[in-house]
């Protein structure tokens, strides 16, 4: 293959087939506390992956580490084949142009109005060639279903759902290849949650973007995700047990042989109640509330 054109085609083909995001033995510890242990995952281009798991299992930490916001204790994160932890600050800044991050509470800048918030990534990375910044802002705003009259407003003047949609518009402004959503439907009413789910689906189909969302909302995970990954808190795992309990399509989650996955999907407390009783008993002699709850469950 001496032909440069053929070489170029082969390398393009390899780039397309290469996973967009890969983690290799990713481990994150804070002091003596291990949050993520030996996580190795591969996320293909165009895939929509939901990461689920109970509070404290490290879902948000995993998402933030993918964006290079939290350093790993060991392991690697590869974005399009490039190790983000071996990059310089300038290289990482350039790479972040290809990311969009939708934060749990939108994380809009209080000191800027909505227009300035949405335009912020363009201020950092420049306006896409041949595009008018104002036109782009208005286009993204209409895509998330917000009227133009919100542009001069401050984030504090908007509702929670509107702020999340502005956060999505801001993340989309540079048409990123990877969108990271941190609990996009948490704290919203069911209707607004569904609006956000529809927006995620619409964004996925319009921009063919790869999406990773962290959520507790099983309805949302089932609706938008092609693949679900369930993490379990490291501190509660048995020795040598992997932290990823489930990695597969959302449809087969309820048939998962692991009881903890089925319990999470159904929203059942399971043995967590017994663990809490044991924990409470070790601190105090009185456990009326939890004993009553367990007795009621057993009677049922």
């Amino acid at each position: 293959m001496d032909d440069p054109l053929l070489n170029q085609l082969a390398s393009d083909q390899a780039a397309i087939q290469r996973p967009l995001v890969q983690t290799e033995a990713l481990t994150i510890r804070f002091g003596r506390q291990t949050i993520l242990n030996n996580i190795s995952l591969s996320i293909a281009r165009g895939e929509t992956v939901a990461i689920i798991g109970e509070s404290g299992c490290g879902k948000t930490l995993f998402l933030k580490s993918l964006a290079g916001l939290i350093p790993a204790t060991s392991g690697r994160i590869l974005f399009d084949g490039m190790d983000i932890y071996s990059m310089s600050e300038t290289e990482l800044t350039c790479l972040r142009k290809r990311f969009g991050f939708v934060f749990q509470n939108a994380a809009l800048f209080d000191s800027l109005n909505i227009q300035q918030n949405i335009a912020f990534p363009m201020m950092q990375h420049g306006v896409p060639h041949g595009r008018s910044p104002q036109h782009l802002i208005e286009q993204r705003l209409s895509e998330v279903g917000l009227p133009r009259n919100v542009l001069p407003k401050r984030p504090s003047q908007l509702s929670g759902g509107m702020r999340k949609r502005v956060g999505l518009a801001r993340a989309l402004i540079l048409e990123p290849e990877l969108l990271l959503y941190d609990e996009p439907t948490t704290g919203l009413d069911p209707i607004m949650s569904d609006v956000i789910n529809e927006l995620i689906l619409r964004t996925q189909s319009k921009y063919s973007v790869t999406s990773i969302l962290v959520t507790h909302d099983m309805h949302s995970a089932r609706k938008v995700a092609d693949r679900v990954i369930m993490l379990y808190p490291f501190s509660r795992l048995k020795a040598d047990e992997p932290q990823v309990l489930y990695d597969g399509p959302p449809e087969t989650m309820e048939e998962c042989p692991d009881r903890r996955v089925r319990q999470f999907v159904r929203g059942e407390a399971g043995e967590r109640l017994m663990e809490m009783v044991a924990q409470q008993a070790s601190h105090s002699d009185e456990t009326p509330f939890l004993h009553d709850t367990i007795a009621r469950r057993e009677a049922q």
Binding site: R96, Q104, F109, F120, P121
Partner: protein, 295 residues
């Protein structure tokens, strides 16, 4: 019974004995002091790294005017009235406190020299710095702390903006470049306040008051006050931004960061004041060995 054998040999091993309690008390004190020292050294290391990163960003990338202007306005323009007001009152209080003592010695005409000297060398810079730490420093810590808690700092990083370049550099420049102006304003208003009380209320001779002020207070005194203010401004900005960046979660964390920013800035202003005064006095007496004399 190995435990009994051990206590029989070593009375310090028995936690119920006097010597055992004494040892455990010492261990607890040593432990607490050790923790304080480790935390202090860690904090010092963190703040040094933070300052170094800020300096690197300051010299390698110019901050944007849209981030500079609001910060300069908040630090400089909005602080001006409160600094001017406190300066005036301090000048007046100085006149009231000194007048009767000086009158007893028949030195009331020297009041101008004392008031002006106290203001330009000491009270003006320290007062302006204290007001800046209270009004601007704690607000900076609270704003940056809230941004940390609400993930706005993460959002900045995720969008390719360096938070130190975007948030800290403009605040540092505003504090360092504008505190001399605030100091001069505090000096000026203090002198006006002192003059008003001495001349208008107490009836000190106007010409003698001004002549004594002019003769006793020189350019070096004015310079030393302004020179110190640069260090005070830099300290306030670094401590306040650092506290905000390392804010703990929740409203309590933000409140604690704001309080720590003010208290630590204030203590550092006073500590720096001593060091800088020693240095400036050394410079002054090496340049003018005789110095200037009030009498």
């Amino acid at each position: 019974m190995p435990y009994q054998d051990q206590t029989a040999r070593n009375p310090f091993a028995d936690p119920n004995s006097f010597s055992g309690r004494l040892v455990s008390g010492f261990v607890r004190i040593a432990n607490a002091w050790g923790r304080v020292v480790i935390e202090g050294v860690t904090s010092l290391g963190d703040i040094s790294v933070f300052t170094w990163r800020m300096i690197i960003w300051m010299v390698t990338a110019r901050p944007r005017p849209e981030t500079m202007m609001p910060t300069f306005y908040a630090v400089g323009v909005l602080s001006l009235p409160v600094v001017a007001l406190t300066g005036t009152f301090i000048g007046m209080v100085l006149a009231i406190q000194s007048y009767h003592q000086f009158e007893l010695m028949g030195l009331e005409s020297k009041l101008g020299a004392v008031i002006t000297m106290s203001l330009v060398r000491e009270l003006g810079p320290v007062l302006a710095a204290t007001m800046l730490a209270g009004r601007v420093g704690s607000a900076m810590a609270a704003v940056i702390g809230t941004m940390r808690v609400t993930e706005q700092i993460d959002a900045l990083t995720a969008m390719g903006a360096n938070p130190i370049h975007y948030l800290v550099v403009p605040r540092f420049l505003a504090c360092v470049l504008l505190i001399p102006a605030l100091t001069i304003m505090a000096d000026f208003m203090g002198i006006v306040g002192g003059y008003f009380f001495s001349v208008v209320i107490f009836g000190v001779d106007h010409a003698a008051y001004l002549r004594n002020s002019r003769e006793f207070v020189g350019g070096f005194d004015f310079f030393s006050g302004v020179f110190k203010s640069f260090f005070f401004g830099a300290t306030i900005a670094v401590i306040s931004c650092f506290r905000g960046f390392h804010c703990q979660a929740g409203a309590e964390g933000v409140g604690r960061a704001a309080t720590a920013a003010f208290v630590q800035s204030f203590v550092m202003i006073l500590a720096l004041d001593i060091v800088l005064n020693m240095f400036l006095d050394g410079v002054y007496y090496s340049l003018w060995p005789g110095g200037s004399k009030l009498l």
